[in-house]
């Protein structure tokens, strides 16, 4: 069983669930040093909700950061 963060698959034990805060540590070691926002399965999740948001197998997380744009 897996979850995906920005398209990269990370293994998750069957029936295991983790918080979004924990899931983000799979993506980067020090999230507090980056500017980013998160969507779970296409829906925005505010920073204040990371700790209460449960991630289960099959979930897809997008972590976005600022970039130049027109």
């Amino acid at each position: 069983m897996k979850i995906h963060i920005n398209g990269t698959a990370y293994p998750l034990a069957s029936k295991q669930s983790i918080t979004l805060t924990n899931a983000l540590t799979l993506h980067f070691a020090q999230p507090q040093k980056s500017t980013f926002a998160v969507a779970l399965n296409g829906d925005f999740v505010g920073k204040g909700d990371y700790e209460h948001t449960i991630i289960t197998a099959g979930d897809s997380i997008d972590v976005l950061q600022p970039i130049q744009g027109g």
């Binding site: 993506h27 925005f44 950061q65 744009g69």
Partner: protein
């Protein structure tokens, strides 16, 4: 004269993009030379192994602070209302602004906005407290619908993004200005030359948003200055009142006592 964006009065009528410059330093020079007070930017997937993304963001914040400018995040890359709404919410959290340049693309070939999804997204975002600046086609009825929803700023395209083809349909753009006299109209996308921007201002548009025309110039900072001056010239011309076109020639020099004047049949 000033540009009104949801009650915020700006001296500059130029909104400038932050992409495509040959280097961050050239981007900074161009933004400063443009005297623009609104800088657009976007969001992308973060790569945890890449530090340059955070560095660019830190640099952009510095430029915006130095120039007392505002950030205008966009929803580039979105193809549905749902994607655009999610991206707008993520942008609001990061950039701490309710302003959103709403882009919902309906065609990959010419990057034409999808009017149906655009309306759905605009409605949801307005209900969610956003101040929406929709990028749309030059369709009068679409612009009217967006305005009726509560979009105080409407941004019809001049031509497809990045083409530099200028104003494809001046009649459409003039009609939108005529029919929506109270909307803030900003011409967005497809501007190639300062004369394009000047023409939009002469039509009574309130501002112009562009990126490629400056970023892809041989000397972006010099081009940014040229655009700034063109916008000022066009806005002043509109305020001054352009003379009506006439079908026939009219001499400007007084004809009374014209030297060497003679009747055609005079011998």
């Amino acid at each position: 004269m000033s540009l009104n964006i949801y009650g915020t009065q700006l001296d500059s009528r130029l909104l400038i993009g932050s992409a495509l410059y040959p280097s961050p330093e050239v981007m900074k020079q161009a933004i400063l030379a443009s005297e623009s007070q609104v800088v657009t930017l976007s969001l992308k997937r973060q790569n945890p192994n890449e530090q340059s993304g955070q560095q660019i963001w830190d640099y952009l914040q510095e430029i915006v602070a130095d120039n007392f400018a505002y950030l205008l995040p966009n929803t580039a890359g979105c193809k549905t209302a749902k994607e655009a709404v999610t991206l707008a919410q993520m942008s609001r959290e990061i950039f701490k602004t309710d302003w959103i340049k709403l882009e919902v693309i309906g065609d990959d070939y010419n990057l034409q906005p999808d009017p149906i999804e655009l309306l759905h997204a605009a409605e949801q975002l307005i209900n969610n407290g956003f101040k929406v600046l929709p990028y749309c086609t030059d369709d009068l009825v679409l612009c009217q619908r967006l305005y009726d929803l509560g979009c105080e700023v409407i941004m019809p395209w001049a031509s497809p993004i990045g083409t530099g083809k200028g104003l494809m349909n001046p009649y459409n753009l003039e009609t939108i200005r005529l029919r929506l006299p109270d909307a803030t109209l900003i011409l967005d996308a497809g501007i190639g030359k300062p004369s394009d921007a000047c023409l939009a201002m002469e039509m009574g548009y309130d501002g112009v948003l562009l990126n490629s025309a400056i970023a892809l110039a041989d000397q972006p900072a010099l081009m940014a200055k040229a655009f700034s001056q063109a916008l000022q010239a066009g806005a002043q011309a509109y305020a001054a009142g352009v003379m009506p076109q006439r079908q026939t020639a009219h001499p400007s020099t007084p004809t009374l006592d014209t030297p060497f004047w003679h009747q055609p049949n005079y011998q």
